[in-house]
Subunit: 235 residues, 2 copies
């Protein structure tokens, strides 16, 4: 039986363009800055703990990440962090907010192909201005029927988005690199999901693949999505 | 001649609920923290300069404000700020992100009255999660046909919003406390604007009132808007 799908949601960071590599680079620099106080393993553990603790206040994005680095630096130095280290952390945060956009392979032609048959919606979380900046620099804006920058990717958020763009979540598919944000909540909302793993993924976004879910599959690259959609919809 | 208006945009911070008072309180505490290094006047000047400098990176909102306080603290102490002061600044930022909502007078009944005749859109800038939290806590969500949390309030942003909610900017009116964000750009987009001054307004939002603009007026409180709309639209 062919599925009826009218809308496709696409994640942005590490689905359309590189993102986690800039966090990884920054974390390396952060560990260098504090190497006299702690090793990288412990530092990353404390940083992730701070990020999780601060999520209800800060939400996702680089500004909150920067604030969590400042907090972690104070913590691991027992309150003895020199202020030039704090100043360097602020600089690192600002650098991240202006990093260049590197599109992943085959992104543009894939969007052109998909947009012939489906409403395309970009669905991303993070800092509003930063996500807008990256979209503008990517040159991909015109391929999308809708842009949704959300504070979190939950089942009700997906249900609302696919109600407004398309014909409801049960006739929508979401594709992205995060099992926790792009796959599980869409399935819970009654939709379809495609996981496209990326070599670098933030620990927070890791989750176990769903079992017995006939509306879920994994593809090794975004470029494989048009062929998969054809098969799925019998188009 | 009666105007045709189909949609009303309403600003949130200091139009529907108190906001600037929490910034003012935090700035007092910030000045207290650094009183051994500089007086409040100079500190506020340096802080505003940092906020303006960082706007292209951080955009609007409390997370960026917190980062700018940290930066200013390093600056005014010539790099000698103790890390417990930085920790207290982080705490102050987190406190702001969970301050209680205090509705301004007559807000609820005004929205009820306006929503009988117009599409209502809440249009606000700031941190995505924080603005969502405040809206949820305000209990006002159901009075609005649309919620638009934007990175900046510019003429194209208003044109796009009133295209989607209503019948274009020339048949839309925006009401809010900021001359720079709620009045001037809407007039530039061809719409109508009502300025409702608030006793406390961030220096960045101050601007000169428009001259020779027949689509602009000032009201002393939100509660006066329904009567004004009736007069304007001949309803």
């Amino acid at each position: 039986m062919s599925a009826i799908i009218t809308a496709i949601g696409l994640d942005a960071d590490d689905t359309l363009w590189q993102n986690e590599q800039f966090f990884a680079m920054t974390q390396d620099n952060f560990a260098d800055l504090l190497r006299d106080h702690t090793d990288k393993g412990n530092l990353m553990e404390r940083l992730l703990a701070a990020e999780r603790r601060n999520l209800p206040h800060y939400g996702f994005g680089i500004k909150g990440f920067t604030l969590s680095m400042v907090e972690t630096a104070i913590e691991v130095t027992d309150g003895n962090v020199p202020s030039d280290v704090i100043a360097q952390i602020l600089d690192m945060g600002r650098d991240m907010l202006s990093h260049p956009i590197e599109l992943l392979p085959q992104v543009e032609e894939t969007l052109v192909s998909l947009s012939a048959d489906f409403k395309l919606v970009l669905i991303t979380k993070g800092d509003l201005l930063d996500q807008e900046r990256k979209l503008a620099q990517s040159g991909l804006r015109d391929h999308f029927d809708g842009i949704e920058i959300v504070s979190d990717k939950t089942p009700p958020v997906y249900a609302d988005i696919f109600e407004r763009h398309g014909t409801g979540a049960d006739q929508a598919l979401m594709a992205g690199n995060s099992m926790a944000s792009d796959v599980l909540p869409v399935l819970d909302a009654g939709g379809w999901a495609v996981h496209i793993p990326h070599a670098l993924t933030w620990a927070y976004e890791l989750a176990t693949a769903p079992e017995n879910r006939d509306r879920f599959t994994t593809l090794d690259k975004l470029g494989a999505l048009p062929t998969y959609m054809e098969k799925l919809t019998g188009g």
